[in-house]
C-alpha cells in the first residue's frame, strides 16, 4: 500500500528509518537540527534522535567532508548535508582526494560508507552561487557514486540504498522537487544503486533524463502522445556507476534518443551518455543523430524569465522531440 508523500517527506522518512535501524547512521550539517534543514527536509529529526545523532555544525564544509570520511573509515555511517550543492566546492579536497581515493590507496583495506546529500538546481531565483548542478564533476571521480532521484519513491528508496552502499555516495536532490508529491511505499524499502528505470514506455523516441528533467520529459510525453508520438522516458537514477543496458535497449527499440539534463551542456552528463549510446550496439539502430537538451552554458541568472529560459522546459522538450521524430534532426 503506498500513500502520497512529498519528495522532502520521503527523504526525511528514509533518514529516520535508517537511523532507527542502525545506530551507526547519524546526520550532520549546517542547520539540519534545530532549523530542520534549509529546505525543511530534516525537520523533527533532532527531537526524535537527539543532538548526538543529529548534529548542527559550523560553516566548515572542508572539515565536514573530512568528518564524513574519517567517521566512515572507522565504523560509522554518516549522512552529511551540504546545504547547497554550490558549497560542495569547499569540500572538494576531502571528497576527491580523500573519500574517493583512500580505499584504493590503502589497498582496499578500508570502506568509506557515507552519503552526502545536497540540494541542487535552478528555479528558485537564488542566482548563480546557489543554483548549481555539479553532479558531473563527481561522475568524473572514480571511487564516488552519484545518485539523482526524480520522484519521492525513488528519493526514499535510493537514499536507503545509498546508506546501505559501502561507498561514498553523492545524493543530489533537486530544490524544485521537494514539494512534489508522489506515491511512496511504506516501510524499509531500499532500492539498490545502479538500476536504470524506464518510467514510461513508447516506440518512437527515447528520452533519457535526470532529476527534475524526468518529470518534464514525462509531461512532454503526454503532449506528444496526442500527436501520435510515443515517447519512452528512461531515468538512470544512479549516474555513476551507470546501468547502461536499459538505455541501450530502449534506443535499439526506438532508433532515436534525446538526452535532457539541467546542468549546462558542455561537459555535462549528456556527453557521457551520448558516447555510451553511440559506442554501443544501439549504434546500428540509430535512425537520427543523438540529441542533447541541456542548460545553457552560463551562470544561473537572477531574472526569473532568463532563469527559466536557461534550463530545458517542457515546451523545449516537446519541440526537440518533434524535430527529432518528424524531421530526423
Amino acid at each position: 500500500m503506498s500513500r502520497e508523500l512529498t519528495y522532502a517527506q520521503a527523504i526525511r522518512e528514509a533518514i529516520a528509518l535508517a537511523m532507527e535501524r542502525d545506530d551507526r547512521v547519524f546526520l550532520f550539517g549546517e542547520d539540519v537540527g534545530i532549523y530542520g534543514g534549509a529546505f525543511g527536509v530534516t525537520d523533527g529529526l533532532l527531537d526524535r534522535f537527539g543532538p548526538e545523532r543529529v548534529r548542527d555544525t559550523p560553516i566548515s564544509e572542508a572539515v565536514l567532508a573530512g568528518v564524513a570520511t574519517g567517521a566512515a573509515m572507522t565504523g560509522m555511517r554518516p549522512i552529511l548535508e551540504i546545504q547547497f550543492m554550490d558549497f560542495i566546492t569547499l569540500s572538494m579536497e576531502q571528497l576527491v582526494l580523500q573519500a574517493a581515493k583512500l580505499r584504493f590507496m590503502l589497498g582496499g583495506k578500508v570502506n568509506i560508507p557515507f552519503v552526502l546529500r545536497t540540494p541542487a538546481g535552478a528555479g528558485t531565483g537564488a542566482a548563480a552561487q546557489h543554483s548549481e548542478s555539479l553532479e558531473n564533476w563527481f561522475v568524473h571521480v572514480p571511487g564516488i557514486k552519484v545518485v539523482m532521484p526524480s520522484t519521492p519513491a525513488d528519493a526514499k528508496g535510493l537514499l536507503l540504498g545509498a546508506i546501505e552502499d559501502p561507498n561514498p555516495v553523492i545524493f543530489v536532490e533537486h530544490k524544485l522537487l521537494y514539494r512534489h508529491k508522489g506515491p511512496v511505499p511504506e516501510g524499509y524499502t531500499p532500492i539498490p544503486l545502479s538500476q536504470t528505470q524506464v518510467k514510461r514506455e513508447g516506440a518512437d523516441l527515447t528520452i533519457v533524463a535526470t532529476s527534475l528533467m524526468v518529470l518534464r520529459a514525462l509531461e512532454a510525453a503526454e503532449t506528444l502522445a496526442q500527436e501520435g508520438i510515443q515517447v519512452e522516458v528512461v531515468d538512470p537514477r544512479t549516474l555513476k556507476p551507470l546501468d547502461e543496458q536499459p538505455i541501450i535497449d530502449s534506443v535499439k527499440k526506438t532508433g532515436r534518443v534525446l538526452i535532457v539534463h539541467e546542468a549546462c551542456k558542455t561537459g555535462g552528463y549528456g556527453g557521457e551518455l551520448a558516447a555510451i549510446i553511440a559506442g554501443s550496439e544501439a549504434f546500428d539502430y540509430l535512425d537520427a543523430p543523438i540529441r542533447r537538451l541541456a542548460g545553457l552554458d552560463m551562470p544561473v541568472p537572477y531574472n526569473r524569465e532568463l532563469e527559466r529560459r536557461m534550463v530545458p522546459q517542457v515546451e523545449d522538450i516537446v519541440d526537440a522531440a518533434r524535430k527529432l521524430v518528424r524531421e530526423g534532426i
Binding site: 572542508a62 573530512g66 568528518v67 573509515m73 560509522m76 579536497e93 582526494l97 580505499r103 589497498g107 560508507p113
Partner: protein
Amino acid sequence: MDDRTETTSSPERSQGPSSEEFAGLSPDSLREALRRMLLIRAFEEQAEQLYFQGLIHGTMHLSIGQEGSAVGSIWALRPEDYILSTHRGHGHSIAKGAKPALMMAEFLAKETGYCRGRGGSMHIADVETGNLGANGIVGGGIPLAAGVGVSIQMQKLDRVVMVFFGDGAANEGAFHESLNLASIWDLPVIYLCENNQYAMSMSVRRSMNIQDISQRACAYGIPGVSVDGNDFLAVYRAAKEAVDRARRGEGPTLIEAKTYRWKGHSRSDKQRYRTKEEVQEWQARDPIRRLAERMMAQGWLDQASFQALQEDVAREIQEAVAFAMESPEPDPATILEGVYA
C-alpha cells in the same frame, strides 16, 4: 609490542630516583623506544639507498632527525588508538608498530605491501594497528581526524586519535576548521604539529606572524603547548597529558614539537633555503643520541648494548629489504580492485 603496551597503560615505577625525569617509563620501555628510533633511522637511510639505486620510484620524504617527536608522541598511545600521518610518515608508521618488511614492500610497489602496491610512500597505512594512513595532501588528515573523533565518541570507544601534521599545514583552512569543530564537540583528538621549521622551502619565520604554532590553540579555546621535538621525554610527557585529557572526554589539545629534518624536503630538494651550518646545528641535537646518553647516564644502557641495538635493527632492515625484493608485483588483472567496495 607488548612490552610497551604494558608500560604505557600502567606506568611502571622505574627503579631509581629519576622516574619523574623519565616520565614514569621503565628502562625496558625506554630501551624499546630507543630501538624504535634507531629502527626508523635505519629504515629511512636504507630507503634512501634504494631510491638512489633506482629501486624505489616516485618520490620520498624522509624523517631522519625527527625520530624523537614521532616515537615520543606515539609512545603515549595504546595499540587501539588511531593515528593519521603526513607525507613524511614513515617514522609514525614504524613508531605505531608497522612492520618494516611490509613497508619496504609497499615502497617497492609490491603486492605484499601494506597497500598492495597501490599507495606507495605517501599513503602508507596499517589499519590493524590503528594507522589510518599517511596522507599526500598537506593537512589532509586533519579533517579526517575530526571524523575519527566523532566516530570514537559516538561508538563510546575508549580511544583517542592523534593526527600529525607540519608547520605548513597549520596555515591550511582545514586546520582551523578542524580545531574549531573539535573544540566545540570536545573530540578526543591530539593535534600533533611537528614544526621542522620549513614547509618545503618556506621558513616558518616567513609564513606566519607568530612564534609558536601552539599559540593558535587559544583561538579555539583549547590547550596548546610547544616542546623540544628532539627530546623524546619532553614530547612523551606532553603527549601523555593530552591523551589522558582526551580519554577523559575533555577534548582536543594542540602540541607543537619543534624539530628539524636532516634531509631535504624530498629527494629532489636542492636545499637552497637553508644553510649547512643550520643543518649541522640541529644534527648536534640528535634525538637518538640524546636519549641514549641520558640512559647511559642512568646506567640503563652501555656502548655495547647500544651497538647491539644498532646491529639488531640493521638486521631487521636487511630482512625487510630482502622480503620486499622477493615479493611479487600486483597482477595487472586486478587493476580495478579497490576502487569501489
